[in-house]
């Protein structure tokens, strides 16, 4: 059973909205308070990257299940400049925007599954999954 919503990310207020929707879905799936906070924070990081580095995009929030347990899958997609060196981008502290450089690498640690797909000139897609324990 899949239950999905898609939201645009075009302004700072959208980042706040994404966080709120992810929080609601995380509660629905039955994530613990710690896991809710982790996935909400990851969503905040990835949504902000979409806004800041790609000038906007969208997120798909899906409630997923594999029979045994439920989970939340978030897919952030943009048609921005892409990331030339994925490994570098995933290095703690690496930033081209004067940030802490922990958004991508930190998000990877906050979730159970993390997939970064990017092509320079085409755009970036980040997919993360957090499973309920």
């Amino acid at each position: 059973m899949t239950d999905a919503i898609e939201l645009p990310i075009a302004a700072n207020s959208d980042v706040v909205l994404v966080r709120q929707r992810v929080r609601t879905s995380a509660q629905q799936v039955g994530l613990s308070l710690v896991d809710q906070t982790k996935v909400v924070t990851a969503a905040s990081e990835l949504a902000r990257n979409t806004l800041v580095y790609a000038g906007g995009g969208r997120v798909r929030i899906e409630v997923v299940g594999n029979g045994a347990r439920g989970g939340l899958r978030l897919t952030f997609a943009d048609e921005g400049p892409g990331i030339p060196d994925l490994e570098l981008a995933l290095t703690d502290g690496w930033t081209t925007g004067g940030g802490l450089g922990l958004g991508l690498s930190g998000s990877r640690r906050l979730v159970d599954e993390f997939d970064l797909d990017s092509e320079p000139g085409k755009g970036t897609r980040v997919t993360v999954v957090k499973w309920a324990r």
Partner: protein
């Protein structure tokens, strides 16, 4: 309107002009009595005269009543600020009818009397207009107040001589965090405080951007000779911050605002004793 009607209209216009002083005086008497002691008659009289003259201009020039509407809107706003109800304001405008009617009656002119019906509708419209602008004015006042509340919703409070606190509540977007942090730094300068507590008990999530604002604020405060303590980091937030890889370095963190206050008090040389009666006894250490 018929030719006959136009003549009636003209007659009442002339009457309004010729009897200006008399009508105005009666209007002010009637409206002043209705308002009781709440209105400043001198100021109100001046305003009513302006409105009356604009009314005359609007009558003779036909449709263009921009001046008149502007004056009525202003009257409405002022009345709203002074706490009058919308019906008070409408009654004030409507009472010109009574003054005019008395004058017409005294003149014993049937043409003017017929014209009065038309004049009465004209005034009703004006009264309704003040009602509308009154509502708009009230809404504006309420909006202004809620904007001020928003400003106040992230206050910098003084906990103790030399100790400030900012309780952060709600979702922190970047802009708001920055405003709050700037406010704190400003307050540190203005009050000459050397300690600040940033309490994040009410914050549902701390991402790298919020953390960066926090870190920058603490660093800036240090440059100004002030020490910050971050309090209210709840377990789920602590987990997340650590997993993200954010380093708080040597920033002092406390679980609650009261622990943070106790820490800041100790740092500023105030001794705290937890008495048996659970009262906190405070004594300033003397050198």
């Amino acid at each position: 309107m018929t030719v006959h009607g136009d003549a009636d209209r003209l007659r009442i216009e002339t009457l309004l002009r010729e009897q200006e002083e008399r009508i105005l005086k009666r209007w002010l008497d009637i409206a002043g009595a209705a308002a009781g002691g709440r209105a400043d008659h001198g100021v109100l009289g001046g305003r009513m005269r302006e409105i009356y003259q604009a009314m005359l201009r609007s009558l003779s020039e036909g449709d263009d009543s921009t001046d008149l509407r502007g004056l009525l809107a202003e009257l409405s706003r002022i009345q709203a600020r002074e706490g009058f109800t919308p019906s008070d304001t409408a009654v004030l405008v409507l009472s010109v009818k009574e003054a005019v009617y008395e004058t017409i009656e005294a003149s014993e002119e049937t043409a003017a009397l017929r014209g009065y019906i038309w004049f009465s509708k004209f005034v009703d419209d004006l009264a309704l207009y003040t009602f509308e602008t009154y509502v708009t004015a009230r809404e504006k006042i309420i909006t202004d107040q809620s904007e001020q509340l928003l400003e106040l919703s992230t206050p910098v409070v003084k906990l103790w001589e030399g100790i400030l606190a900012v309780p952060l509540v709600g979702t922190l977007d970047s802009a708001r965090t920055q405003v709050v942090m700037e406010k704190l730094l400003q307050a540190l300068v203005e009050t000459g405080s050397e300690h600040a507590v940033i309490d994040i008990t009410g914050v549902p999530a701390v991402d790298t951007q919020v953390a960066q604002h926090l870190l920058k604020t603490v660093a800036a405060a240090r440059l100004m000779g002030a020490e910050c303590v971050v309090s209210g980091i709840r377990p789920q937030i602590a987990h997340t911050i650590v997993t993200l890889g954010i380093e708080f370095g040597d920033i002092v963190t406390k679980s609650s605002l009261s622990d943070a206050l106790a820490h800041a008090l100790r740092q500023s040389g105030v001794q705290l004793t937890q008495g048996a009666s659970k009262r906190v006894v405070v004594a300033t250490e003397r050198a």
